[in-house]
């Protein structure tokens, strides 16, 4: 059924409410890692690192189909899944950067994969076309020319992921109301 008709479907509503909560949890964990990066490397403000950002090849997942006039729920779901996959891989760089917080980073990767499969199952339940990604196809880590660049890269991976989650959250909330 077209997504519009589903606004009354209780299971779809439960899916949205549950995964809104899940997204809030992931956002909280990303924020916790951002605090660690700030405390550990004194990298706290994006505006102080804009020049460096241009030199670093930091993945940023597109979500243009999740907001504004071009909002299309099924396409947005696919973009969210693709983005979660991108950040799942990028977090490997953060894992290397913060070995002392491996548990939190790995939980974040688990949650990102879990949220993506939740969305995939929901899309399948809705009869929407879905992409099944090879589970272990990991993207190559960006090559950082120095440890400092690695730190800044880690900072932007988390900042971009937080923004991505914020947009994804608003899209899910839009569908929930």
């Amino acid at each position: 059924a077209p997504l519009a008709e589903l606004s009354g479907d209780q299971r779809f509503h439960t899916f949205l409410k549950n995964n809104l909560e899940f997204t809030r949890k992931i956002k909280g964990d990303v924020a916790a890692l951002q605090r660690v990066v700030c405390d550990t490397f004194q990298l706290c403000k994006e505006e102080e690192l804009l020049l460096l950002r241009q030199d670093l090849d930091i993945a940023q997942a597109p979500l243009e189909l999740c907001h504004g006039r071009s909002f299309q729920a099924d396409a947005c779901f696919s973009q969210i899944r693709e983005g979660l996959r991108t950040y799942h891989s990028s977090l490997d760089a953060v894992l290397e950067l913060l070995p002392g917080h491996a548990a939190l980073v790995e939980t974040l990767q688990l949650d990102a994969a879990n949220l993506s499969s939740n969305i995939q199952h929901q899309m399948e339940d809705l009869g929407l076309a879905t992409v099944t990604y090879p589970t272990e196809a990991r993207r190559p880590l960006p090559a950082f020319s120095s440890h400092f660049h690695h730190q800044v890269g880690g900072f932007f991976i988390l900042a971009n992921f937080q923004r991505f989650l914020e947009t994804a959250y608003r899209a899910l909330r839009h569908l929930a109301h």
Binding site: K25, N114, L115, N118
Partner: protein
Amino acid sequence: VAVGSPIVPLGSAVTASCTIQSKLCRGLEQEKVRITWMLDNEPIAGQQGQGPGDTEVSNLTLPQFNRTQAKLWCWVEWNGTKQRVGMAEIRAGYPPSKPFNLSCTLNLSDYGLTCQWEPGADSHLPTSVVLKCAGSRAPAVTGCTPQGGRSRCTVPRRLLQLYRHMEIWVSATNTLGTAESEHLCIDPMDVAKLDPPALQSIQSIPFQTDCIALTWEVARSNAHMELQCELRYRTPADTAWALVTNIIGHAGTTQCCGFLFGTQYHFQMRCRRSLAQGYWSEWSLGRNYTTHEKAPTGKLDAWWSTRP
């Protein structure tokens, strides 16, 4: 000693045979081999006869083996003495009982799912028990294996799918069969055990009324959840608690009225996810608060007693 099966259903028949090749046993060649049996310490009669290839064989049937464990000894008489020449250990029991009362709780500090169950009657046999779990559209895997004969174990986060239904059950297997518990179909988040909130402050607001304003903080591990909370309070003299329900967790403050003046009350709060009506958290640590005194109302009667 050869037995039909070393493990048999309790009460069923057991067959065994003891074969002696006397020419291989120094000192036995010439004499007439006499084979006897003992079940642990109890003599048992067998049927002895010649076996293939110049052997002596004694066959034994125990029609109803009622012990859960026993040693079946084969003896031979030699130089006027009895010699143990062979042994078979036999165990008897039942197929595993069906585990029951399976329930699970998700711990929000490590997101491990701890499940416990009742094992059912003892099968008297070595039985392997595992907790199985299967995500929707995913194959069943072993979630965890209870240690030390316990009937509980914890499925690690990496094997769970949060916010989606999973099937969870217990599987018990021994030589005589396999038994499975009922299959639980749950979203691990729906059985999350929340950490209790923390009461922060209690004040008489608005002043000079019978109302109080109470503030609290939800636990960090629940911060991302929509919570439904309830407050309970009583005076030291009360036996029953007064209960205030349907408080929105993230409000962080609530106001209640109808309190007695100048009275000490004890307050506690607990919360649960409003999405799934899952488990309540424990009650928070208690907080005492004594409401303020109130000026007496009504006309003041003044009198003066004098003694003539």
